[in-house]
Symmetry: C2
Subunit: 436 residues, 2 copies
């Protein structure tokens, strides 16, 4: 059968991995797809690199805009990243009737609505398994595997860099800054790690998952995003003592009023399977009304794990490119004219439990004042940990775990607690999810 | 758009769950599938039950063979179970041009080759996500999500009853017989639990996974099957002390000579995520050459989790029933004319590590004799645990963990050890997999 011709935009880490895996598993992939899938053209600024990888087996160009118009190309794989050029290239590929496979979470989270509308109009597919959690087939699970379910919530460890840092902080009792330096040295963190450690990358992925779980447009700009840069080793220790681990979670939750979409450090019970996902590994926990909880675990980044997702998409597109668009899975899991109008809730309306760490004077009545404030704000207490003051100190740490409450209410209570003369310093607040 | 009409064979636990979830999530499912999916006819011997569940919203018949010929029906869902009648019904449905969705692992593991050949000939789909690991979309992950990979091995906790029993034995230090009784009382085990506790159910599921992972025909009859009935509490304790848990695993592994397909109690490192899958939960660990290890976790049984998988298949079939067969995922993941001819290896050729428990005389030279026998058989030792003899006893337990070896070689070594006059009783052998 006639091979499918793929044009590759960018042959860096993931592009190189895609080339390697397609070549190594060519026979196996052809046996599955029913026809060979081959990369016939590569657009790459670094021509030497492209030549080294392809060894003459593909046409190499530095002009990506020429490649996406090449009539010989059936599918364009976009692995350039970023918002601007990548967007133009993807839209041009679509305009030229090409199917697109992309690993670009930033692009989809921000411009997904426009891109999917263009693809819908042209009757082409835009596949993006590699955009979330690398090699874990979580997009397929959400769009197809769990399609019988009303998805209730998703909670994912979807950024390997931050999970590596948090694992190391806990294991070695080190500070964020120390571990970040080590992570950079080992190549687990970029020289400019902002996107990872500030939670932006996780928020891109959570945005994409929220869209396909609930059938809503991509709305990255409304996500609440908080990274791990202000996390202190002491809170990891206290959490441990209370039976919890701290993970950077991307959370999307359906509420009657709308959708919660948020990324932040989160205490989760240590006994949950997802709490034991260590190092740079990713995992996504999905709660469906029929199936209950399911978990998907694997490598969230790297050349070949990401290539695994890119090529799975290539095989899907190869299989379905001659099919009627109605035979294909809709881009956002729901039919394009069936997207819901659920608002993304502002963080003040999010409902969650809290870990509150307070530095208090070791005096009678302090605890009574604090518990009174929480009660006045209808916040009930789940657990408490009061440390003995250190030798010669008059202050001590008081940790309170609350039950679920609305964040706006928690803000009022925290402000009132901070106004107490016996409470030194600001209250340290970390959100807590039982995930049950 | 015109609804898809489904005929349901059997409205017991899973059938009832399917009815309930299809009704409850009708709007959500229609938004995904692009058209309503409705059960219009039910074949069920227990007419009262069927009437109670459907409340007049579907035609009820006691004649399943009439239903599978009904020209109004697009898809037949087979939830009767068993080999004989179910096989006739599925083949008749196919013959009548119906697509089939089934949860019947026994049927597919034993008669899959014949059924898929018939479906292939007729150009209809036979979908079976619900046949393995209930609500976990593992069939989709293996057939589609990981399609870029050369799958190296699969190891799954794919029988909830036995995992519940093993979890309870470990937690409470109870014997197999005691826990089985409790499991039966709680409804986790059937009155006749043979299929579960003897590993047959797990072997059906492992057989199905081996077929779609490696592109080989279903060959249940060649699987090695060993259940948990002879497992002793003492081995669970010793395993724990050595840093391992004992799980009933279904394993399918690619070797140069052929495929290992086996179900047996297995020691696995306690630190692996899959070792921490407790109670009736299921999990499948898959090793692919590109993606590395991925894990899929969730409920492996029950009305609604299984219905989740049945309905996901219904949505897939609804989407693709008007497509060309070439646009569909092949039944066994690989194109029908591309199945491989790899033999299933006999257990003697399987390669694995071992936990060996020996009852030995507390005399000098015993250890030397045993380690000499292992060395003579080219079996190297990974760890050893020797207990002090109990007060007043002249015998003690010696536990050896070996490195990987071929089972035939292990058999020779074990026979030689059992022939030693200082070794009392037979050697207790449990296979061990590091899963890395």
């Amino acid at each position: 059968m006639k091979p499918i011709n793929v044009g590759l935009l960018g042959i860096g880490t993931v592009g190189g991995g895609t080339w390697t895996v397609l070549a190594r598993n060519a026979e196996e992939i052809t046996r599955r797809a029913g026809r060979p899938i081959r990369i016939t053209a590569v657009a790459e600024r670094n021509v030497e690199l492209a030549q080294a990888v392809t060894a003459g087996a593909a046409r190499i160009t530095t002009d990506a805009f020429e490649l996406v118009k090449d009539p010989e190309i059936d599918i364009v794989v976009e692995l350039i990243g970023g918002y601007t050029i990548a967007k133009e290239l993807v839209l041009s590929a679509i305009e030229n009737g090409k199917h697109v496979v992309t690993a670009n979470k930033a692009l989809l989270a921000v411009h997904g609505t426009e891109i999917f509308a263009a693809a819908q109009k042209k009757g082409v597919m835009v596949a993006f398994e590699a955009a979330v959690a690398g090699g874990i087939p979580i997009i397929k699970a959400l769009r197809e595997g769990l399609s019988a379910n009303r998805i209730e919530w998703i909670a994912g460890i979807i950024n390997g860099t931050t999970n590596f840092i948090l694992s190391e902080m806990r294991d070695k009792g080190l500070s964020f800054a120390e571990v970040l330096k080590e992570a950079q040295r080992l190549g687990y963190a970029e020289t400019d790690p902002t996107f990872d450690i500030e939670g932006i990358d996780a928020a891109h992925k959570a945005t994409i998952m929220s869209a396909i779980a609930f059938g809503i447009p991509m709305q990255f700009e409304k996500a609440y995003v908080e990274g791990i840069t202000r996390l202190e080793a002491t809170d990891i220790t206290y959490a441990e003592q209370l039976g919890y681990r701290i993970k950077l979670l991307g959370i999307a939750r359906r509420r009657p009023q709308g959708i919660e979409l948020r990324v932040h450090p989160t205490l989760i019970p240590a006994k949950r399977l997802i709490a034991n996902v260590e190092g740079a590994m990713n995992a996504v926990l999905v709660q469906g009304d029929a199936v209950g909880a399911t978990l998907y675990y694997g490598k969230g980044a790297g050349a070949e794990p990401t290539a695994s997702a890119v090529i799975a998409d290539l095989i899907d597109v190869t299989r379905l490119h001659t099919a009627d668009p109605g035979n294909r899975v809709p881009h956002l899991a729901f039919q394009a004219d069936q997207l819901a109008d659920l608002p993304i809730l502002p963080i003040e309306q999010v409902e969650t439990a809290y870990y509150l760490r307070m530095r208090v004077e070791d005096k009678p009545g302090v605890l009574a004042d604090i518990t009174r404030i929480l009660a006045d704000n209808a916040i009930s207490i789940d657990a408490m940990l009061q440390k003995e003051p250190a030798e010669g100190e008059a202050q001590t740490d008081l940790i309170v775990l609350t039950h679920r409450t609305v964040e706006g209410q928690a803000n009022l209570a925290i402000a009132a607690i901070e106004a107490l003369s016996t409470v030194v310093d600001s209250v340290k607040r970390i959100r807590l999810e039982e995930l049950n």
